[in-house]
């Protein structure tokens, strides 16, 4: 394997960036679409099956005749997809209103802070530790060089992720404050308080993998948690996984911790005064944050790019027959599949659990999750001390 020159490694990093950005911007619209469909199926309706005049033309005739036959037309499952384009067009074309007394600069900058904080986290998430694939030799300029499955697998990856992800709170607080209106201010304060209080158990529940794997490097942590762990280390990890998922739901302001969008108390929370693409950035940031939380959960608790979660892959690996060795190797497909499953879980929980009251959210966060996270950490430390 040749050593890459500086320009070659820059080009390879750009390729990795491109892959990650493509992943992010493919996952987000698919999540939005899946949200409609999955919620529809959970509520025993089919979700979006048509856009505007869907009953004209050839496909409309096909659909109609299949409905009349008592069959669900396959076409109609995907006919809601143009709605995504419609949504995006609507966001772009909408008039961007700025309130008269708003702090214009902060009002302008707040959505970008949220969005940037959400995207930059992906810099430290490595989808496959080590080499993802090696470019073919005929590839111009960078042929024969390895491309890693992520942008930068730095050795304080988790610290970077937590640090940058917390910046998203600034976007919300500044958006609520700079709108110069009562509802956004209250909504921003509420979501800020919620996010700050759930940051603590989130970090504490992520400390358990750190303790168990003795590393802050993303790839190394996911590798040790997936393959280098005895099976009974699984027990505190299950608690930690549920804790992390709960805190992740609260961090991304998703249901049942959907405080900013409590329509009956606040109009729409911190983004009441936002319209057009500024609101769109908040919307995008929420969905990218969902993907980030899912990526972290799948890396540290569900085995990451390996197949089985909770360290079970390490038990299975030695007994795998040779032709199944592909299961033991890290592969981005496993990682992405886990992310998709966790995104589905997001929507699933949304369709199941009603919204908490605000004081209930705070009570759960401080009275249950933080002690539980500490106990979980203690368990992990005990396992680390006596067993691993």
């Amino acid at each position: 394997m040749p050593t890459p020159t500086l320009t070659q490694s820059i080009v390879i990093t750009l390729i990795q960036c491109l892959l990650v950005v493509i992943f992010v911007f493919v996952v987000v619209p698919l999540t939005v679409f899946a949200e409609r469909k999955v919620l529809g199926h959970i509520q025993q309706r089919l979700g979006s099956t048509r856009v505007a005049s869907g009953h004209v033309g050839f496909s409309g005739w096909m659909n109609r005749s299949m409905w009349k036959m008592g069959r669900v037309p396959v076409l109609s499952y995907w006919r809601g997809i143009p709605g995504l384009v419609g949504d995006v067009l609507k966001l772009i074309l909408k008039e961007d209103v700025i309130p008269a007394k708003a702090d214009r600069f902060v009002f302008f900058i707040a959505p970008s802070i949220s969005m940037v904080a959400a995207i930059v986290v992906f810099a430290a998430i490595s989808f496959v530790p080590g080499t993802f694939f090696t470019l073919p030799t005929w590839f111009p300029f960078v042929g024969g060089l390895p491309v890693s499955g992520g942008i930068a697998d730095i050795n304080v990856g988790l610290l970077w992720i937590l640090g940058v992800a917390t910046v998203g709170v600034y976007g919300i607080v500044l958006a609520g404050w700079s709108s110069n209106s009562k509802y956004p201010l209250l909504g921003g304060l509420r979501s800020a308080a919620q996010m700050v209080s759930y940051e603590v158990p989130l970090a504490l529940s992520l400390l358990a993998p750190v303790v168990l794997s003795a590393s802050l490097n993303f790839g190394e942590m996911s590798a040790r948690m997936a393959t280098g762990m005895p099976a009974w280390a699984l027990v505190p990890q299950v608690i930690g996984f549920l804790l992390y998922l709960t805190c992740g739901f609260a961090e991304t302001n998703r249901l049942p911790f959907d405080m900013p969008e409590a329509e009956n108390e606040l109009v729409a929370g911190f983004h009441t005064e936002y319209s057009g693409m500024k609101f769109g950035l908040f919307y995008l940031a929420e969905y990218i944050n969902m993907a980030v939380v899912s990526a972290l959960a799948s890396a540290f608790f569900l085995g990451g790019p390996w197949l089985l979660p909770f360290g079970l892959q390490g038990l299975v690996n030695p007994y795998l027959p040779g032709f199944l060795s592909w299961f033991g190797a890290p592969h981005a497909i496993f990682f992405v599949a886990k992310i998709i499953f966790l995104l589905f879980t997001y929507i699933w929980v949304r369709g199941t659990i009603p919204r908490y009251r605000y004081d209930q959210i705070m009570a759960v966060g401080w009275k249950y999750l933080i002690p539980l996270a500490l106990i979980n950490l203690l368990l992990a430390a005990a396992i680390r001390c006596f067993a691993v």
Partner: protein
């Protein structure tokens, strides 16, 4: 202690998730393998909507077995109509003892679908049918009469392409 454990162990959440997950998988995986679809929302524009038998739709004149208009111009419906949307002109027709409505106008844009006209009719010659797609682009299109191509009181409205047939 029991309550504390119930709070700690998310059994209720798991139960709720299992119920919604069951519904999801049922609707998702058996969509085309059953005669009766499991989703409960009607596929309205494609499949004709079913309305309740007492649904009050548009006013319709009825004809008897010989194809004659049943109305005998007693003007009961015109008198009882609270919004006065019915206008009847009495006339004669050859070979018919009873009076014949030369003009029976119904201005649907002001109708409140109260069904007083049908109740007051002593000859069962009008009903409110099951047609509910009554949108039109012009105000004139709402004036229905016995004559006219697309504004006929006997025909279903041209707006209701997919609606239930008159019964």
């Amino acid at each position: 202690m029991h309550k504390f454990l119930r709070t700690l162990i998310p059994a209720d959440i798991a139960k709720g998730l299992s119920i919604t997950g069951k519904h999801f998988s049922q609707v998702f995986f058996t969509a085309n393998r059953r005669k009766v679809p499991l989703h409960i929302v009607s596929e309205y524009p494609e499949v004709p909507a079913k309305v309740q038998p007492r649904f009050r739709g548009r006013l319709t004149l009825l004809k008897d077995e010989q194809g004659e208009i049943k109305c005998v111009c007693c003007l009961a419906c015109e008198k009882i109509c609270p919004t006065q949307v019915i206008t009847i002109e009495k006339g004669k027709k050859e070979g018919r003892k009873m009076p014949f409505p030369v003009r029976y106008d119904f201005e649907m844009e002001r109708c409140i679908f109260c069904e007083f006209c049908v109740e007051s009719c002593g000859f069962d010659s009008i009903i409110l049918n099951h047609q509910f797609e009554l949108a039109a682009y012009n105000r004139e299109d709402f004036s229905l009469g016995t004559e006219g191509l697309e504004q006929n009181m006997f025909e279903p409205s041209h707006a209701g392409k997919f609606s239930v047939a008159d019964d």
